[in-house]
Amino acid sequence: MDKIAIIGVAQTRYERRKKDKTYYDLVYEMTRDALVDAGLQISDIDNVVTISNDFMDGRTISSMAVGDAAGAYDKNISTVEGDGTFGAFYGAMRVLSGFKNTLVVAHAKGSEGDNKIITNGMFDPIYQRHLGLESISSSALQANAYMDRYHISEEDIALVSVKNHANAKNNPLAQMPMSLTVDDVMRSNKIADPLKLLDCSPISDGAAAIIIAAEDQVEKAKKKPIWIKGVAHCSDNYFLGDRDLADPRALRKAAKKAYAMAGITKPMEEIDVVELYDAFTYMEPLWLEGLDFCDPGTGIELLKNGVTTMNGPLPVNPSGGVLSAHVVHVAGLARIIESVLQLRGEAGDRQVNGAKTALAHGINGPCGQSHCVWVMSNQK
């Protein structure tokens, strides 16, 4: 892969509801701010990828609402419907194909629609939709399959909520900075066993943007470029009953490819910080297994042993993760942006000292069916 880098980033504050802003407003602000961050003008951007979802926005061709706001007038533009990591990957492909600077911008307002009806739309119209499945109950099936197989307790996964909400206290943009105990999580409302309210990510509004540049463009940027070393995505089968929900094999395959591109052979030793898509507490240990940081079933041990805490050798979700702000589709881009901030040394109170290599991860579809893995570094 040719050398390409992220040279500009921007994200909104993540909130339960941004009543005064349309998604057009959010996209405009992020486009403007990412340009400022990179020190570029809109005329430096030669193509745009927007990320939106027609179900979230309540609008067919949701991309039509934001082209102007993304500065895409008279430019090559396209739209990915899916997580920000996937949209950003398409943006990266365009740079690798010869564009100079791709602006990638994602938005969503969870406050505007009905999250259960929207996520019910992920399920098969003929065999699943009428059963009333949505994101939480389907994920609960996965949590149960995983936790039952490896004897992981509800208290164990509650630790993830405690850690990530505490990390969020150091992130001024996070929606849910909280000081929690395992007891608080255990006592929160039961939603779909084993998931309780504090095992679940919130509904959020927000937007984010990044600028991906070709090697010969990075010197124009005012910030330190963060190099994209490896990216890969992979999807598992669709029907929940066709999958082994406790085995994130699609993630393992994507990670293997991304690591190979980045020349990483020992992820635990070579990666300094991880931002992954923890839409639910159980996902963090499960995805860490898929990312080959540990053996199947032992993801939670990393947390219990302090490996993934802020002071540990592999801090996971220093931003507070998706549990602390979950703008659907923006969330993966936010993972990339947090990685960039960490690698630039701009992560403030949550800075992981000396971070050189970071991993960002996003998911699409029910129960993490499809994964996208990013490896980035501040070393060329």
Partner: protein
């Protein structure tokens, strides 16, 4: 290093008004299997997938993950790209960049729609702005009617001029075994069909169709091995320039997005005189008047000369630049697949696989997509490696 890309195989369903015999996913799989058979590959050979349609037409969220069994993408990378009417060309262009980036060798582009499963007008209305437009918006026809009447006023084109486009495309469809509407029509049929919104009559516009299309894109080295006559991607370009319906209404300047996109694509492909250098065109003409006006924006003829150009037979099968040998959009319109069908049909012409609809000796072809807010996509294919 960016690499050269070619189309090596195409597949499409036999398009119909209704496909009750297959579920959505099964219909997609039908197109994918045909595309693989066309280039003698198996599903194991495909490295990545790009798919698109319109979410609220069938009410499927996350079409990428939902489709994997039909697409053949189990344990493979798949991505959803969607932009309304231009979805099919957007998907093709995304598949092109997948390969051009050097990251993937063989990529499948898939577009589909099962329009029989919802009220198409209701679904189209949901593409209008919920605050400003949805209250009064009534679907695509009024804005097209506006464009058509402005064009007629500006250049004196007539309803008969437009009817010629319908007769050309619909009769071309007789040569395409996959086309949805395959009944011959006459000028009288078009002229006497019911008026929908002046000057647009029923036979001036596209139908709604159930169908899917799949196209295999491959990198340089593989393309040459897979296919004797690959269709090389020489250029692609996109202009999705408008956000608001009320901004795209400068009809006297032509379809600006198509003008800009085609100019950029011609420049990349080194084309100076499109009508001479292109051998065939598969254009996303959702209604007949576009067949007069947009060929001007594409530079096939000068502004105001579209009607005469068509009347003179230059766009007929034996003309200077045959337009829509497949029968085009007014013969087949499975919306998410429609623009991908333009790309597929252009590739078919380059590969010489057009059967009864083959234009002899095609060296260079153009495919376009139209949608959104008067948006345009362009892809130029060639027989010679760029």
């Amino acid at each position: 290093m960016a690499q050269r890309v070619a189309i090596v195989g195409t597949g499409q369903t036999d398009h119909k008004s209704h496909r009750p015999d297959v579920s959505q996913r099964e219909m997609i799989q039908e197109a994918v299997m045909r595309a693989l058979a066309d280039c003698d590959l198996t599903i194991k050979d495909i490295d990545a997938f790009v798919i698109g349609n319109m979410d609220h037409f069938e009410s499927i969220n996350y079409v990428d993950t939902w489709s994997v069994e039909g697409a053949g993408a189990i344990m493979k990378p798949i991505m959803k790209v969607t932009t309304g009417g231009t979805t099919g060309s957007t998907v093709a262009i995304a598949a092109y960049y997948h390969v051009a980036s050097g990251l993937f060798d063989k990529v499948l582009a898939i577009g589909w729609e099962k329009n029989s499963e919802s009220d198409t007008t209701a679904a189209i209305i949901t593409c209008s702005d919920p605050i400003w437009d949805r209250f009064s918006y009534s679907g695509a026809i009024p804005s097209l009617a506006t464009e058509a009447s402005a064009y007629m006023k500006q250049y004196g084109a007539t309803q008969e001029d437009a009817a010629r486009v319908a007769v050309r495309d619909r009769n071309n469809a007789l040569n395409n075994p996959h086309a949805h509407l395959r009944r011959p029509i006459t000028m009288e049929d078009v002229m006497s069909s019911p008026m929908l919104a002046y000057p647009i009559k029923l036979l001036d516009v596209c139908p709604r169709t159930d169908g899917a299309c799949a196209v295999v894109f491959a990198a340089e080295n593989s393309a040459k091995k897979i296919c004797q006559k690959p269709a090389w991607v020489k250029a692609c370009s996109v202009r999705h320039t408008y956000t608001w319906f009320g901004d795209s209404s400068d009809y006297t300047s032509g379809l600006v997005s198509l003008k800009r996109a085609s100019q950029e694509a011609y420049e990349k492909a080194g084309i100076r005189n499109p009508a001479e250098e292109l051998d065939v065109a598969e254009l996303y003409l959702p209604y007949t008047y576009a067949g007069l006006k947009w060929i001007e924006d594409l530079g096939f003829c000068r502004p105001g000369e579209g009607a005469q150009f068509v009347a003179d037979g230059h766009t007929n099968m034996d003309g200077k630049i045959p337009v829509n040998p497949s029968g085009g959009v007014i013969s087949t319109n499975c919306i998410g697949a429609t623009a991908l069908l333009r790309v597929a049909e252009s590739a078919i012409q380059i590969m010489g696989k057009g059967g009864n609809r083959q234009v002899p000796d095609v060296k260079q072809a153009i495919a376009t997509g139209f949608g959104g807010c008067f948006w345009s996509d362009v892809m130029i294919l060639g027989a010679a490696m760029p």
